[in-house]
């Protein structure tokens, strides 16, 4: 069976002669506006595939490489249908152009997130590769005067078997560039895949082990100044006055300027700018600032949780069913604010020029950033040129709806009249204290069981700030007052429960909040999967068997649940620990971003309540596995990221001030805390879904369930405190 794809109506393709007689192929939407220009100027990097006379195949990646392996994944899709040799394929980041490089799942918006890169590109990038292949074949057929059907392509070589003739892509590129672009291309039958489903080496590995990979932090432009900003000590505070005289006396400092977000100190190098900021005196206007602490916020949320919220889901009548239940259980959960804390602190480089500006950034949200920067600089969005560099992690942070740090840089370069390019560098302390955060959430769960241990009713109430409120996405992603990202993982609970209510309060606070790797599922997976474990225990049922009975209509949940349990030897007892140690095993299953993941965690708890997570067995169903080793890496990394939150992660406020400032008081996971992780991928022919985020949600509840198995104590708040587990 062959998949026939019509490239004609929505996308259409053109070709033109590129540098050195190369082949340039681009897919554009009708009415894209710059067609004639692009045809005349094919040197623009505005295509998905570029083949040089030197035989290199350049894949132009529209998504940010921030560690998740997307450059390699996108290149795999092109190489597959092009039948390129892996060694001839290189990858470069696409420019900002929502007309050609939009995320197909986000409408007219270019950006990377929500574990969508491969999902939205799967067909698009294969078509780009298949079209290039068809044109190379047509070029060879014309040159050799044979039928295209008589040619084969493999490993970057076009061959005519009967005559023994062969040619590389590079040799054929110039000729191919002059041929018409086929309207339809035929994609491979999956059984013929050469690259998809195999683990070809990452395209970014070499540069990342020899120091040559360029991150934003490494950009240096002629005459560039480095800016460090003194941010307000509390959210909502503003500059009242400042004295920059001492800062200006610091050697190397060139400017001290006020911007809407604080006061910026500029110097020829980072260290001078930082010393300048240390010497700066700022008086802050704090009358309008937010001055509550975490304890007060939690108390407010707890009060709100006593009143009904807006319904995110209502099946049957949970309240009534609860009244009649033979057994009732209730639990309260609190989740703290969390910082993204990517290893590369936030930064960007900006340069103004006549008629535009150019930015170098780990660029995750092109369309939004273009619009925001254009607004503050008095430009049109298309005058904002964005260079997408590797990001040293992001976890959601670099896709900020307000373009916060980019706006800072824009105000700074404006304040110095654009006379020099500016690199804005947030110190680690800025990165941790100036926002944005995974929102603090309070959950209440109530459930009722009948005499046989069946769940009659489930009531889940959530209280937490909306991420989407006040952003350009509010209109699309907040429906009837419900921010989808607040309740994802809760409102779509897969378990068969006849009476099920999920309701939500979304209090507005000035603490800046943002999506954080796996978003709503960072908290909903924890409360639902630990509470379900509690219900299983309350019903006297074994947790896997209990879930199995509730997931009959959810085969993919069931698939990963069964696979993880089998690979973890769930039905055999866990080997005992040493004297004084208690061991336990727990499981959790969760769907996020259309991928399904189950994880089994094994823990050892010592007498003082301290514990280690020894092993995690993970099963993932993400549809077709484009690169299995990258999927394994994302599960391993997601588990480590989720464990950091389970074991350590907590941003707290005291009188409005963030109490943490660096890795000494906001610890992340360390090597000695990393469990052995085993990843098993469910074989699938379904369209691929994401893997960047879905590994995160199940690990914390699996660990908490394991801790319960070991100690009989339930974890109700994160991070897990040793004191909560002591002496049971």
């Amino acid at each position: 069976m062959e998949t026939k794809v019509n490239a004609g109506r929505r996308d259409f393709l053109r070709a033109g002669a590129a540098v050195g007689g190369g082949l340039l192929i681009e897919m554009v939407l009708p009415g894209a506006g710059r067609l004639a220009e692009a045809a005349a100027a094919p040197f623009e990097p505005n295509a998905f595939v570029r083949i040089g006379a030197d035989n290199t195949v350049t894949v132009i990646a529209k998504h940010l490489e921030m560690g998740q392996g997307t450059y390699t994944g996108l290149a795999t899709l092109v190489a597959e249908e092009l039948d390129a040799a892996w060694s001839q394929v290189r990858v470069e980041g696409a420019p900002a152009d929502a007309k050609r490089y939009n995320n197909l799942l986000w409408g007219p918006t270019q950006g990377t997130g929500g574990s969508t890169a491969i999902a939205n590109s799967f067909e698009q990038m294969r078509k780009a590769g298949a079209t290039a292949r068809a044109m190379l074949v047509a070029a060879a057929a014309g040159q050799w005067k044979v039928k295209p059907e008589s040619l084969s392509v493999a490993e970057g070589m076009v061959r005519h078997k009967a005559s023994g003739r062969k040619a590389t892509f590079g040799v054929l590129a110039a000729k191919a560039a002059r041929l018409p672009v086929p309207a339809d291309v035929t994609l491979k039958d999956p059984k013929d895949f050469v690259y998809i489903g195999k683990s070809f080496p990452r395209k970014d590995s070499r540069a990342k082990v020899n120091g040559t990979a360029i991150f934003t932090q490494d950009v240096k432009l002629p005459g560039m100044l480095t800016a460090v900003v003194a941010h307000p000590p509390r959210f909502g505070a503003r500059v009242k006055s400042f004295d920059g005289a001492a800062a200006k006396r610091v050697k190397g400092v060139t400017d001290v300027v006020e911007i809407p977000f604080g006061v910026a100190v500029l110097a020829g190098d980072f260290w001078s700018a930082k010393r300048g900021r240390d010497a700066l005196t700022v008086e802050w206007e704090e009358s309008t600032a937010f001055k509550l602490g975490t304890d007060e916020i939690v108390a407010q949320f707890r009060d709100l949780a006593k009143t009904p919220g807006l319904f995110a889901r209502k099946d049957g009548d949970a309240d009534k069913a609860l009244e009649g239940a033979a057994r009732k259980l209730e639990a309260e959960f609190v989740f703290p604010y969390l910082a993204h804390a990517a290893m590369e602190p936030l930064n960007c480089v900006i340069r103004l020029s006549a008629g535009g500006c150019e930015v170098w950034n780990g660029e995750q949200f092109q369309t939004v950033d273009q619009a925001n920067l254009a607004r503050v600089l008095g430009l049109k969005p298309e005058q904002v040129k964005l260079n997408m560099l590797f990001a040293g992690g992001s976890f959601g942070r670099r896709a900020n709806p307000q373009s916060d740090y980019l706006m800072e840089a824009a105000h700074i370069v404006k304040a110095i009249g654009g006379r020099a390019p500016v690199k804005l560098v947030w110190t680690r302390e800025d990165d941790m204290q100036a926002g944005y955060y995974r929102p603090l959430f309070h959950h209440t769960l109530r459930a009722g069981l009948d005499e046989k241990g069946n769940i009659l009713a489930w009531h889940h109430r959530l209280v937490g700030q909306s991420i989407m409120a006040g952003t350009p996405f509010e209109s699309g992603l907040v429906k009837d007052g419900i921010d989808f990202t607040s309740v994802e993982g809760a409102a779509n609970l897969p378990y068969a429960i006849p009476n099920l209510t999920v309701d939500l309060h979304s209090p507005r606070l000035p603490v800046p909040v943002q999506w954080w790797r796996s978003v709503g599922s960072t908290h909903t997976a924890f409360s639902t999967e630990t509470f379900l474990d509690e219900l299983a225990h309350g019903a006297g049922r074994e947790p896997v068997e209990f879930r199995r009975g509730l997931l009959a209509k959810h085969p993919r949940h069931l698939g990963v649940l069964e696979l993880a349990a089998a690979m973890a030897n769930w039905d055999k007892p866990l080997p005992a620990g040493k004297a004084g140690e208690r061991r336990g095993r727990g499981i959790a299953v969760h769907e996020s971003f259309h991928s399904f993941v189950a994880e089994v965690a094994e823990v050892t708890v010592r007498e003082d309540g301290s514990f280690s997570v020894d092993r995690v067995v993970c099963a993932v169903d993400c549809g077709i596995a484009v690169n299995p080793d990258i999927i394994r890496a994302q599960m391993e990394g997601g588990i480590g990221f989720g464990l950091a939150a389970a074991l350590h992660g907590e941003i707290t406020l005291k009188e409005g001030r963030v109490e943490q400032s660096n890795f000494h008081d906001y610890p992340i996971l360390r090597l000695n805390e990393m469990p052995r992780v085993e990843v098993h991928i469910v074989p699938s022919a379904a369209a691929p879904t994401g893997v960047g985020e879905p590994g995160v949600p199940p690990v914390a509840p699996a660990v908490a369930n394991a801790l319960f198995a070991a100690t009989g104590k339930r974890v109700r708040r994160l991070p897990i405190r040793a004191g909560d587990l002591k002496g049971a």
Partner: protein, 154 residues
């Protein structure tokens, strides 16, 4: 003027003696493979070798480094082919890659000191090198793989 010996070359720099070596490497010498992550010796992204020993360049002043043999990721091997770098590629350790120069420099110093490091040795030498992508399992496996390669070659 301070004289620095970096990756076998001599440089004379005018930075203040108390400037962290990290910023002299990055901003003055343009050796950007060494990364800034925390500035307080809490993450290891800035790890370089000083006379063969792994140090945090963000809290090592340029005057402390003067006269010593400084090695950065750019100078660890001629062609990126140190046993640790090869194992890193073989096992696909890197994700975002930002911390990996520091991880590799710490691992190379460990292997120079211990030819057959145990898990406890790896914990002790590497737990100060943070990786937010949590590539730790592969870091551990790659160190063992590099140690095996080294022992075979020896």
């Amino acid at each position: 003027m301070i004289t620095l010996k970096v990756n076998g070359k001599s440089y004379r720099v005018k930075d203040d003696p108390d400037t962290p070596l990290l910023w002299v490497l990055r901003d003055t010498l343009g050796l950007t493979g060494t990364k800034y992550g925390c500035g307080i010796s809490a993450c290891g992204a800035c790890t370089v070798h000083l006379d063969g020993e792994a140090v945090r360049s963000c809290v090592t002043t340029v005057s402390q480094a003067a006269g010593k043999r400084i090695t950065t990721i750019e100078g660890l091997s001629r062609n990126g082919d140190h046993a640790v770098q090869k194992a890193w590629i073989e096992l696909e350790v890197a994700q975002c890659g930002y911390c990996q120069s520091g991880q590799i420099m710490a691992a190379a110093a460990l292997l120079a000191a211990k030819h057959n490091p145990t898990d406890a040795d790896i914990d002790a030498a590497m737990s100060g090198n943070l990786c937010r992508c949590a590539t730790y399992q592969r870091v551990r496996d790659a160190i063992k793989a590099a140690a095996r390669t080294r022992r075979k070659e020896a």
